[in-house]
């Protein structure tokens, strides 16, 4: 029963208008807008960091908006928790569902709201009957009595969807549901999605894959830099137009890299493999060179960085630094030989938040600082003084806890602790994520200066302007493989984005 209400005068099932959200000084969402109607599938697309996830988290009740309009079925709502959004008929299906592995499929569907029979006992019969009819309606063939453990991600998603349907969710949001699915599984998911649309529900589909967007969706909304850009009917648009909308920003000269003399190869990665994570990664970083590693979140870029540095293991391949093999799975040895990794997650991996600025900066060089095996806070403070002032960290004192600093200053502390090791090659993962514009420019100037002094830099970044502005050479990864290598002169937003999203590789 397809009930497609006439657009325009119909009340939208989900409507956000000019929604804003900031975290401290970081603006995650400047102006988020979307209007989704019942009985339609609406695609939401945009680069990493465009604000899609923030928008979804506001709808899910995980975040509260700072400003703007948020209506559900025409009624203004203000969710304080995920429970409230669920009760109002919103369901979000995440890329990696979180089921209780030891409970049965049926129990998972009814988690927290089991039907109660006589004497307050859980009515298993009613549960099973309802799951049976639900699965029948969705055309799902999963044994309702089996434990959730061992189910594929696709099946787990289906169970999450069944849960949402049994809650009679009016709005279903699927956040990159197909990222981990195989072709057949995607087809099944789409069938279910279409039947839900035909039941008159509103679906939001977040994806990076254009073919899926064109296959499944009716309407598409593009976001960029935390703001709404455009909404178009799928029939009226094209891949090229969407890519332009996603990346099309005025070219700024915010990220100038100085011209440097590019010298001898420093870091040589050859045929690095890790089953299911990345495959056949081969590249070289030379002295004075900044190599940008672009791609979408989940393409395997950070995993490659961690494997090179030895935090994670890899199955085969080799890493060489100035010709010498760097042993696998041994960060302290990699560090000793001149590798440094500024990791992706500053708060978890980059810093010991409960330790002082001095403690963090000197953690990497504590062995060098020691005299006759002994170290005192005096030695540490003297060394930290140098790096804090060189990087202009804004902190009260060297004893200030790293966790109390702003994002930009935390990043400076992480940079300080790695520059203190005087590395020959610096791997930096998302150098400016979540930091303010001013500090961003400082970080870029610093990277450029380091390259100028002969350091080799591998810069992973999800921000295209950063990659295009800073990198001498851009490597693009997609689904665990390097799909393109583009020189600075040839790199454009369009060909990098294309290589990041399309299997065929870039047409540069």
């Amino acid at each position: 029963m397809t009930t497609t209400p006439a657009r325009g005068d119909a009340v939208a099932a989900l409507e956000l208008r000019d929604v804003e959200k900031s975290f401290g000084s970081v603006v995650a969402l400047r102006s988020g807008s979307i209007e989704v109607h019942a009985g339609s599938i609406h695609a939401l697309i945009g680069e990493n960091g465009a604000g899609k996830s923030t928008l979804v988290k506001i709808v899910a009740g995980l975040y509260q908006r700072d400003a703007g309009v948020f209506r559900l079925g025409g009624v203004e709502v203000d969710f304080k928790s995920t429970a409230e959004s669920k009760a109002a008929g919103v369901a979000v299906i995440y890329q990696e569902p979180t089921l209780f592995p030891d409970l049965s499929v049926t129990e998972n569907v009814f988690m927290g709201r089991q039907p109660v029979g006589r004497f307050g006992r859980i009515d298993r019969k009613a549960m099973r009957a309802e799951v049976g009819s639900l699965f029948g309606r969705l055309g799902v063939a999963i044994d309702p009595d089996r434990p959730a453990e061992g189910l594929s991600i696709a099946d787990q998603q289906v169970i999450e969807i069944a849960k949402a349907v049994s809650l009679d969710a009016k709005v279903l949001i699927m956040d990159e549901p197909t990222a981990a699915l195989s072709g057949v599984e995607v087809d099944r998911l789409f069938q279910i999605a279409r039947s839900l649309r035909d039941e008159g529900r509103a679906l939001v589909f977040i994806s990076h894959r254009f073919d899926e967007v064109f296959d499944l969706c009716d309407t598409v909304t593009v976001m960029r830099d935390g703001a709404y850009i455009a909404t178009t009917a799928i029939a009226d648009t094209s891949v090229d137009e969407l890519v332009t909308q996603m990346v099309g920003r005025e070219v700024t000269d915010l990220f100038p890299k100085q011209e440097t003399v590019i010298g001898a190869p420093l870091l040589e990665v050859d045929g690095l493999n890790s089953a299911g994570v990345f495959h056949d990664i081969t590249f070289t970083v030379r002295s004075g060179e900044i190599v940008g590693l672009a791609g979408l979140v989940g393409a395997g870029r950070s995993e490659v960085a961690r494997a090179i540095f030895g935090v994670d293991a890899y199955d085969s391949g080799s890493v060489r630094l100035q010709g010498d093999a760097v042993p696998a799975k041994n960060p302290s040895e990699a560090m000793r030989r001149g590798l440094a990794l500024v990791p992706e997650d500053r708060r978890k991996q980059g810093l010991v938040l409960e330790a002082s600025v001095a403690g963090n900066v000197t953690l990497t060089i504590r062995n060098q600082l020691a005299k006759a095996g002994l170290i005192t806070s005096g030695f540490e403070n003297r060394a930290a003084q140098v790096w804090a002032s060189r990087l202009e960290v804004k902190a009260n004192a060297l004893s200030t806890l790293a966790g109390t600093l702003s994002g930009g200053n935390q990043q400076k502390v992480v940079l300080g602790k790695w520059l203190a090791t005087e590395p020959t090659v610096l791997i930096i993962d998302e150098p400016t994520r979540g930091i303010d514009v001013g500090t961003k420019a400082e970080v870029h100037r610093l990277l450029s200066e380091l390259a100028g002094r002969g350091m080799g830099i591998l810069m992973i970044s999800s921000e295209l302007p950063e990659v295009l502005g800073m990198a001498d050479r851009v490597l693009v990864m997609r689904e665990g493989r390097i799909t393109a290598e583009i020189d600075r002169a040839d790199a454009t937003s369009e060909n990098v984005m294309f290589a990041a999203t399309h299997a065929e590789g870039a047409h540069s």
Partner: protein, 351 residues
Amino acid sequence: MTATTTTVAATRTYRDYDRPLWQRLFLTREMAIIGLLVIVSVIAALSVRGFSQPITLTFLLLDVMPILLIALPMTLIIITGEIDLSVASIVGLASVLTGVLIQAGVPFEVAALLAIVAGAIGGAINGFLVTVVGLPSLAVTIGTLALYRGLAIGLLGTTAVTDFPDFWTDLAKARMGNTNIPLVLFLFLALLVVFVVLLHFTPFGRGIYAIGRSSEAARFSGVRVERTKLILFVLAGTVSALAGVYYTLRYGSARGDNATGLELQVIAAVLLGGVSIFGGRGAIHGVIAGVLLIGVLASALRLANVTSDVINIITGVLLVLSVVSSSFLAWLRKRRRAPGGTPRVEASTAG
């Protein structure tokens, strides 16, 4: 970011500390415990008859010596966020091994040395299971607590070996010259210096704190997390076995059930001394005060004819209060620091 000065920017110098010296010295958890120890000692000396006699202090030190010894490595282990519940069983096992070997005609010195080596092996087994196999230390050491105790009792049954060289049993209780200072105190002081230096003045110790505060960030900074923990478990086993040899000599008896339940007293003292059960925080001087506080309380109350049940209750209440007070203080501090709503979750996967 305003001035685009080139390489040599107008550098600022930073103060080393944001609090004045007296605050850093005195407004600490360790100082609170030391203060409490002083107050309790003064009250005991004034109101409990016999407490202020020098001989009381001597016995107090002899009694708490095993706890003092084991508290040293235990402090380091708890700061990394792990725990070792098997220490008292290693005390028992080392005690039994010493006794069994003596019975078999092995000279005492060799027997004691072998017992200490066995303790190191016991600690290495704990460390192996925690770091290489990757099991939680709580579960591993509950298991080895039973295992090592079982071995100890299995080896000697319910009998006891009491036949030790007089020289050594006397030495365990001996005092320096005409003073009341027990000689064994110097063994402890030597170990104390080793552990204070290790924890507070070596790169290894810096790694211990980093692991306890964030083992992931420590790993990313090149700290050898597994190796550090393995070393600490071996140290705990070794020192526990040493304490076991001392225990045997002090009471002149090697028994399978020696020092049963001692692990709880050690852990209680360490936590009371300001070490966080969540890892990353604590210092040795606080732990020493914690051990002595429990010892002074027990000794004074015993002299005042309070039964051991009541002593246990008081120690337990003190421990709970100390844990609650630190959480309460942390909560207060957090409330004062962040009156507004700071975000709990930083968008980790922006999209």
